[in-house]
């Protein structure tokens, strides 16, 4: 069996996950990871699937596409390449929140600041309602990066756009929403 990563984007309707998973089962595939969301009526899906050695990328993609109307699914398939563990890349997870009046370029400016410091965005949510932006991002700050300097820097970036910015270690949010003992936090990461 070979591992593939597959993404599907489509206008949302009932039954897309059924169609995609049935297509994969039909060619002998086994889904090992799945993450799906719907945003403003549009469906996206990312799947990790094990497929028999004889199946090609093209066959997998076409099997899924055929389950929808013509042109309904935008499907992408690529072989899974395992991330190389990096022992010197220890990091700590923080939650970045930004709130304020929406303007062009906020996300670009913020993520540029993060990327320049080797800070990876692991999860991201952004939403504009009545012209007000809410942005939440989970970021990994490599050990060795001065967190207080990053906090000050991000506050300055937010200040350029008139936003309220907070960069807080994720454990504060675990503490207020997870019923497990805080002693366990020292042993486990999310």
């Amino acid at each position: 069996m070979k591992d593939y990563i597959l993404t599907v984007m489509a206008q949302d309707r009932v039954g897309i996950v059924r169609d995609v998973s049935s297509a994969l089962a039909g060619i002998g595939g086994n889904i090992t990871h799945l993450n799906q969301t719907v945003m403003r009526g549009y469906f996206t899906l990312i799947i990790s699937v094990e497929a028999p050695d004889e199946r090609t990328q093209l066959e997998i993609r076409q099997a899924v596409e055929r389950k929808g109307e013509v042109g309904e699914f935008e499907v992408s398939v690529r072989p899974y390449a395992e991330a190389v563990p990096c022992e010197s890349c220890a990091s700590d997870r923080f939650t970045l929140s930004m709130q304020g009046r929406d303007q062009k370029g906020i996300i670009a400016r913020t993520t540029t600041y993060l990327a320049e410091r080797g800070i990876n965005v692991e999860d991201f949510y952004s939403y504009v309602h009545d012209g007000v932006l809410l942005m939440l991002a989970q970021v990994s700050i490599p050990s060795g990066v001065d967190v207080e300097e990053v906090q000050t820097g991000l506050e300055a970036v937010g200040g350029e756009f008139g936003l309220v910015v907070h960069l807080q270690h994720e454990n504060i949010f675990r503490a207020t929403s997870d019923v497990r003992s805080i002693i366990d936090f020292e042993r486990t990461a999310l």
Binding site: Q151, T176, I183, L190
Partner: protein
């Protein structure tokens, strides 16, 4: 990632509802600083406090920034000074108080507690010297807080000590007359005083506590108030049981912040993590008030009928939520009702709904007693003693902590206003029946321990 709603809820609590850690209090044992030479004791004490407190202040700043939670006060609680300074007399006590004050200045500590005497069953010479030094200490130092344990369920009530304290309260008030008797804001007289309380003015490092220990006082009246408002405005019928449940889950979140911060600070400075105190501690700021919680619960005039029941329910629900949230709960752990420090309570006192008698009833179901109650300047020492006897009797009989922090304001009468500023707030001066119990209190002695204390 943690749920977006949960993240937003926590951010809302921090930004708009006054959630903070009210006090990180480091207990520091001082018994290894004793010496026959007062100068040596003062030097050793100052060095030890600076050695432990300076890293604690730094750790608080760093942890506060890391998690985005304000830490309002950084405090030190020391071993009872009456015992540490036994044999040195009043002059020695005073000298040490100045050394403690200097150590606070040097380290950035807001308050040092533990200028304390434990006299529930009787006073040693050293205890008496400490109590008699209070007018000078509390008027001439900036950071020292004092406490006296004058009663316990096991020992009864030491009325002789309370008679002495009646005079001392008036002398402290006179010594700080230009500040409306502010010195009295820094003295609490207790029954069943806890050894691990992080809140001032009653914090000291108990004899049974570790060498250095971090105790946490959380806050959060504003968070509880908003939670109650939300559930009352929400869909469906909201009964008192639903409000109690909401308070429980809110107290859980508030307490968890304290536990997280306490553990981090303790680890950073190599101290033992002690306890989280679940008390809801108000500040004079609007939106950070226990009185406003009563109003949110539907009591239009705080102090009116229903207030004691509301407080009992609030206090119980906070304990239930908080005790599940923390691995180690202690201190006072009950809602505070410090009149001057809580703008809604002070307003209720001004409007006449909240009286001393009602406050006393309320203290039967919460923790701290007659706290920050401002009295007329002509209140007699015997009346202060009798008032303290009443309040401590509630603690002794009910096997709980109660305390008295009263401020007789020189030259002012009931209805006038006393202004202390900062976290100490301001309050109207409350009516008190004066001088009616002199013959009773002047008999002195000790009210024996109640029969319920014989529980072995």
């Amino acid at each position: 990632m943690i749920g977006q709603q949960q993240i937003l809820q926590t951010i809302e609590m921090l930004q708009n509802e006054h959630l903070d850690v009210r006090a990180v209090t480091m207990g520091v044992d001082l018994f290894d600083c004793t010496d026959r030479n007062v100068d040596t004791v003062c030097r050793l004490v100052r060095e030890k406090i600076v050695r432990h407190a300076a890293p604690m202040v730094k750790a608080c700043q760093s942890v506060s920034r890391r998690y985005g939670i304000p830490i309002v006060n950084k405090r030190v609680a020391v071993s009872p000074i009456a015992d540490v300074m036994a044999g040195h007399g009043q002059e020695g006590m005073l000298q040490l108080a100045f050394a403690l004050d200097a150590a606070a200045d040097e380290t950035g500590i807001d308050i040092i507690g533990g200028y304390t005497a434990l006299v529930q069953k009787g006073m040693s010479n050293s205890d008496r010297a400490l109590i008699e030094s209070l007018p000078e200490v509390l008027s001439k130092t900036r950071h020292i807080c004092s406490s006296v344990n004058a009663a316990s369920t096991k020992a009864g009530i030491n009325v002789d000590a309370l008679l002495l304290l009646g005079d001392i309260w008036l002398k402290i008030a006179q010594a700080t007359a230009e500040a409306d008797g502010f010195g009295c804001c820094k003295l609490s007289v207790f029954a069943n005083m806890p050894e691990d309380n992080p809140f001032m003015s009653g914090a000291y490092k108990g004899i049974g506590e570790p060498e250095t220990v971090i105790n946490i006082g959380v806050s959060g009246p504003g968070v509880v108030k908003r939670a109650i408002e939300r559930i009352r405005c929400g869909p469906g019928r909201c009964d008192l049981g639903a409000i109690a449940e909401e308070i429980k889950s809110t107290a859980f979140r508030v307490t968890r912040c304290g536990e997280l911060i306490g553990r981090e600070v303790a680890r950073a400075v190599g101290a033992t993590f002690g306890i989280v105190d679940l008390s809801l501690a108000p500040t004079p700021e609007v939106g950070d008030s226990v009185g406003e919680i009563f109003e949110a619960m539907g009591i239009a005039k705080v102090g009116g009928p229903g207030t004691t029941a509301a407080l009992a329910m609030l206090n119980d629900a906070v304990k239930k939520g908080g005790s599940f949230a923390s691995s180690s709960v202690g201190g006072l752990s009950g809602a505070f009702i410090p009149v001057a420090e809580d703008s809604a309570l002070a307003r209720a006192a001004e409007e006449g709904h909240l009286t001393i008698e009602k406050l006393e009833a309320m203290t039967a179901v919460c923790s701290v007693g007659l706290d920050m109650v401002v009295l007329p300047g002509d209140t007699t020492a015997d009346t202060l003693t009798a008032l303290a006897m009443d309040e401590l009797a509630i603690g002794v009989i009910n096997k709980k902590t109660t305390s008295v922090r009263v401020i007789p304001v020189p030259g002012k009468k009931a209805g006038d206003r006393a202004v202390f500023g900062g976290l100490f707030g301001e309050s109207p001066i409350m009516e008190i029946p004066n001088g009616a119990s002199t013959a009773f209190v002047q008999m002195g002695g000790r009210i024996p321990a109640p029969i319920t204390s014989l529980n072995n």
